[in-house]
């Protein structure tokens, strides 16, 4: 249902994003349909600006990238520190995340970690956005 909605709303040149999304079968996508379609609409509305970052399969438009980085610094930063050096939550600098695959980080972002203070963020992030954020963390977020 999620994939159908996305395909319907995206211009054809963006289909590769949808493919990437579908192949991430490890995600238990529990975002609501309403949230999903909101994300799809957002991508479609800005669909002309697509930048490929780090991995050809991971693309988030530049406006949304800024929103995600803001979210990362300010809201993830509530616990992990604005510079990601850690706080009540662990540090998220590249050295701290060495040996942690991007997929694992993306799942953690989306589903949280039960038994800890890490909440699930899947109401605000699509799997592809979580995967993009995970890659930013591994590469080191540019200032």
């Amino acid at each position: 249902m999620y994939a159908n909605k996305v395909i319907k709303k995206l211009p054809s040149k963006m289909l590769f994003i949808t493919t990437a999304l579908l192949t991430n079968s490890s995600f238990n996508n529990s975002a609501t349909a309403a949230t999903s379609s909101a994300i799809a609409a957002n991508i479609a509305a800005n669909g002309t600006i697509i930048s490929v970052v780090n991995s050809p399969a991971i693309s988030v438009n530049s406006e949304r990238q800024q929103e995600l980085l803001h979210l990362l610094r300010q809201d993830c930063g509530s616990c992990h520190g604005m510079t990601l050096k850690g706080g009540l939550g662990p540090a998220l600098l590249p050295a701290d995340l060495a040996n942690k695959p991007a997929e694992f980080l993306a799942v953690t972002i989306l589903q949280g970690r039960p038994g800890t203070a890490m909440p699930p963020w899947n109401a605000f992030l699509s799997p592809i956005e979580a995967r993009w954020l995970a890659q930013q963390l591994l590469d080191g977020v540019s200032k």
């Binding site: 616990c79 050096k85 706080g87 009540l88 203070a117 605000f124």
Partner: protein, 403 residues
């Protein structure tokens, strides 16, 4: 030779008289109606005046202030700023400059000043513990490492991981009280004697995330993240130990995700009731301060972060966690009715009341401004520019236990 001496004398005289003329002509600046605002993204603070609602100065170079708090010296001249990067900065609000700055740990969360004003304590995440400094010189007086957490990997320098320390407050009798997030403890450090005495209370409840102390300094209450409830220590009767209160306030209700930890700074108390944020519930809990049982709850707009009582205790003001952090709700403490819902703008992080409570200042991070409201009609009076403002701290905190 003689000429030279005369010249020096003349110069010295000019310099001296210049000095005294300067001080005669400089307008005096009392500090009782000043405040300091954290600008979290730029490592700056603003010095403000809350009688005239104006900005006085901006001070640079305070490091990482992404989470920061402030206590004041009892003469209300110096602000001690506790930064995220372990920085402890002493600011002179008379001269608008940094008096002294040290990096005392890798990662800190907050601090407190002692009853006699001579000690400043800082609670640290990395390495976990509390450090206590001479408030005048910032020289280390005591180091109190927190409990070792065996299950966590050692720090980069090979030293063992220790519990993070939260909820550090001052208490009467030259004490500091704090909670250990990872080891479920409350510790009391008593500095009234030459040698510091440490009392430890274990198994106080799962993951204490923050704490508060009542304005009389008697009750220390830690909020628990790992379970529904709070931990209460009566400092008049420490021999009775820590008591669990508000057990199971969720009553089996599904916990909502917590996108930001509530803060328990200050004490929202009115008559026989105290008001605290629920964790994982969109509610403010009402506690009887007589029985320490929950007597009610107020449905709120989101996960509460700060629940703050006006100085007259007539109303409480509540802000909320992401994604509902554009809103403030005001409730009547007698009827528990909603008085008003305000939408100050994106990311309202903190509020501070003027000493007698006619106005409240609030920081609106993402619109880069501080808004000033009157508490009676809740009307916006003035907006001041500030870069990513977070905490607002007025100097009258200098004379309040626990702040």
């Amino acid at each position: 030779m003689k000429m030279k001496n005369k010249l020096i004398l003349a110069l010295a005289f000019t310099a001296l008289s210049g000095c005294s003329m300067y001080s005669n002509n400089t307008p005096l600046r009392p500090t009782g109606d000043l405040g300091v605002i954290i600008e979290r993204a730029t490592g700056q603070v603003q010095v403000v005046n809350h009688t005239n609602n104006e900005r006085l100065s901006e001070i640079d170079g305070l490091g990482d202030l992404s989470h920061a708090s402030i206590v004041f010296s009892r003469d209300e001249r110096f602000a001690y700023v506790f930064g995220r990067d372990g920085g402890l900065t002493k600011i002179d609000v008379l001269k608008d400059k940094i008096e002294k700055r040290i990096i005392q740990s890798g990662n800190s969360i907050g601090g407190a000043i002692s009853q006699d004003g001579k000690l400043v304590a800082v609670s640290n995440y990395t390495p976990g513990g509390v450090k206590v400094f001479n408030s005048e010189t910032l020289e280390l007086v005591a180091n109190i490492p927190a409990s070792i957490i065996e299950s966590k990997k050692p720090l980069a320098d090979g030293s063992p991981a220790r519990s993070k320390v939260v909820g550090l407050v001052d208490a009467p009798g030259q004490k500091f009280v704090f909670s250990l997030f990872d080891s479920n403890e409350i510790w009391v450090a008593d500095f009234s004697e030459e040698e510091m005495q440490l009392s430890k209370y274990e198994n106080i409840g799962s993951f204490p995330y923050d704490a508060l102390i009542s304005p009389d300094g008697r009750y220390y209450i830690a909020g628990l993240f790992g379970e529904d409830g709070m931990a209460l220590l009566d400092l008049w009767h420490p021999e009775k130990g820590v008591k669990r209160i508000l057990d199971n306030y969720g009553k089996g209700e599904k916990k909502l995700p917590v996108y930001k930890m509530p803060h328990l700074e200050g004490w929202a108390i009115a008559g026989d009731y105290a008001f605290v944020p629920a964790v994982g519930q969109h509610k403010v809990l009402i506690i009887s301060t007589d029985t320490w049982q929950q007597v009610g709850e107020i449905p709120a707009h989101g996960q509460p972060i700060f629940v703050m009582a006006q100085p007259d205790n007539r109303q409480i003001w509540v802000n909320f966690a992401f994604p509902r952090n554009d809103t403030i709700q005001i409730f009547n403490t007698e009827t528990f009715d909603l008085v008003k819902t305000l939408k100050p703008g994106p990311a309202v992080l903190h509020m501070e009341f003027t000493p007698r409570g006619e106005n409240v200042w609030m920081s609106v991070r993402d619109s880069n401004e501080v808004q000033i409201y009157d508490t009676q009609e809740q009307q916006l009076l003035k907006t001041l520019p500030a870069t990513s403002p977070s905490g607002i701290f007025f100097t009258n905190r200098a004379h309040q236990i626990g702040l």
